[in-house]
Amino acid sequence: MRHTILALLAPGLLLAGCGKPGELIDDAAWSALGPIYGVANFDDDDGNGEKDWSDVLVEGENDLSVLSVADLMAGVADDERLKVGLTGENIRVWRDGELFLEDGDIARISGRSDLQIEFLDFLAKGTLTFIQRDEDDNELARAEVPLMSGPLIINNHSQLAELVMAMSYTGTGGNTGFVNGFKSVLGENFRDVPVNQYGYDVWVQDEIEFATLTAPDHRVDVVIDSIRNNNGAGLDDFPEEQFEGPDFARNTWGDVRASSQDSFGNMEASPPVTVDGVYYPFGRIYWGEYRGSGPRDEDLLAFLQAQRVQAPFIHDVTWLCVGHVDEFSTFLPDPNSDKGFKLLVTDVNEGYAFLEGLDPELTLPQYENEKGYATIGDVVNDKALRALNEDIQLDYLDPAVELFKTELGLTEEDIIRVPMLFEENAWCGGDTATFFPGTVNMTVAQLEEGGEVHVFLPDPFLRENNTTSSSARSADPFIANFESLLPQNVSPHWLDDWDWYHMQLGEVHCGSNTIRTPNANWWEDALHLLGDDQ
């Protein structure tokens, strides 16, 4: 008799429907065993500096999946035996604090202690085979319990924000306005960390990427520590000091000298999408290649490809001096839209259309000294700047939009084109950064389901009064125009990022990062992507 296990067992759930001694264990008892879905034991619950999957069972361990056999054993007569075997690499089974099974082991079960399943890798798969035998060793019944650990999943903007962070400097000339802009809206959901503790490196988006491992009743946050700084400089120690610990794993994949494309402003994930009939419940990862070369950290790229559920695709960022995908695109939750989100992408045609609708005599004190453009007319009449931007639209932005449409199954209705221009920067070899503070380089934070979607945006200073007062901002035509493009339920918050970020070729998103709540279950929604409709 062979039983296929279909039901899901929540760890610790008591089994029901067991047989009586001397009878075969009934179908309900077998079925209640599994499958068992778990998380890779990737964190360091005892804080000994070793990942738990490299350790023996450690104190404080809470990442193992529990399989209760008590009710099964109730159905095993005294003269019968119940054996269990494990097949599957990178899985260990513990019982009563001792290693009970590894790949290929078979053991007799006596007593009613739980089995604890430990996964030693992402997407590890195996099978526990239970065999009930009589006193003459004849097989009476058999059941197989599939085991599987989940993939590492990169967060996306459709997930609720739990904690937004940025670096702060409170001394003279500090970025207090930037930090307070977050703090006033997010309160305890925002953390600022003194930048002087981290070599005045403000680019916290580039240094780390947050991800999660989940399973029924399990969540482990993971901070992916980039290879951007691997010599103790800048934010190198930030993830270790601020996050690593029990239930918060940290890891660096790869050990090569980074290019700018290895920064995590160059790696984002879309919201959930359906592409050619295939549902991606965690969206899809995308990153940028500069002149045909993507991130040098091939170990990380291979790892993310192998996770399968977020099927990465690649943009061309060759026209950008920094060369990150967050410089020209982002995603914004929009519950009123068909897909539940909008893609925001920079568009220079929209940029010129917007500027040409303004008074050419409008003075721009913020741009006069710092960029050499005293009025709107100076900007729109700069033929070289216009030619540069026309080329960018044709050769890079239009193809980028087409790629988003193809790879994410989007239509024009899913896209908000955001007015923007780019400019060449000295010592960038003709590559560019945004002329105005890059609006789509924003931080997205929705704190409650159905609540406001807060977006933190770089103040464009496209106005005669370039103070940061609310009256000055309310008179800014760029702000008014952009806010008119936003979906309902989105609350914009404009931050002064000019000196600390924009002039350093980054913006709000580059200078912040966000921990988010998982909002889908891979074992329910993504098995089709894992080739495993169990």
Binding site: G171, T172, Y200, W203, S260, G372, E424, A426, G429, Q504
Partner: protein, 245 residues
């Protein structure tokens, strides 16, 4: 030292120890001069040194920055950031830069000198660009080709642009092609057609876009588009197909 740590440095600086020439201390507030003489650039997200301290955007500090550039004993890494800062000081720096270019030994610094001419007085810009068009460094010559369309009367600088189309450096040829298109340099037509067969995809792309700007109808009839439509570079093939449509 990062972007705005200048402020901390500013407040803590001790004038006597920083070696600021005495005559500079009389140009503006002594503490400010001291700061302008000693502060270090931040590193942009692209890894490029840049001064973004707004207190340096002061015309009175322009001579301080110029003198620091010449005699401050700074590494080239700092010096190119000093050059990039000059336009934002708001002072008179243009004519001085023409002279400094002639004696500047670092190609990196000379290339930034070229790039900032887009904010210089047109006469000074033209003088510097013409001198730099024959620079021994392709880095500098590429900057010249890139910068010409941004300066007033850039369209009148056909000679260096035409020469740039034949430069041995692919980067120079590419930006010369791009600028020929941006400035509508019809005299470059034949050379641009030749560059459609260049081995560098950037050059093929720039040449194609340039020809399209000069004469879109004639460009669409070019037989070279047959091969460009199936070019291995996606940008080139896409542009060729768009032009044919």
């Amino acid at each position: 030292m990062s972007i705005l740590s200048f402020s901390a440095l500013f407040s803590m600086s001790a004038f006597a120890e920083t070696g600021v020439p005495d005559h500079l201390l009389r140009l503006a507030d002594a503490a400010l001069v001291e700061h302008a003489w000693t502060t270090q650039p931040g590193i942009t997200r692209a890894g490029i040194p840049r001064f973004t301290d707004p207190t340096l955007y002061n015309p009175a500090l322009t001579p301080v920055i110029l003198e620091r550039l010449v005699s401050g004993g700074e590494h080239d890494y700092v010096r190119l950031a000093l050059v990039e800062l000059l336009p934002r000081t708001g002072g008179d720096w243009d004519s001085a830069l023409v002279d400094l270019y002639a004696t500047e030994s670092s190609a990196d610094v000379r290339s930034v000198m070229v790039e900032v001419t887009r904010r210089a007085d047109p006469q000074d810009a033209r003088a510097l660009l013409l001198a730099a068009a024959d620079d021994s460094s392709p880095l500098v010559r590429a900057a010249v080709m890139r910068t010409i369309p941004y300066v007033e009367d850039g369209a009148g600088m056909a000679e260096p642009l035409l020469a740039g189309l034949h430069d041995a450096s692919p980067e120079v040829r590419g930006f010369a092609a791009r600028s020929a298109g941006w400035t509508g340099l019809t005299a470059a037509w034949d050379e641009l057609v030749v560059l459609l067969s260049d081995s560098e995809p950037d050059i093929r792309l720039h040449a194609l876009r340039a020809l399209e700007r000069i004469d879109p109808a004639a460009t669409a009839r070019l037989s070279a588009l047959d091969s460009l439509e199936i070019d291995i570079d996606a940008r080139v093939s896409r542009a060729a197909r768009q032009i044919r449509q």
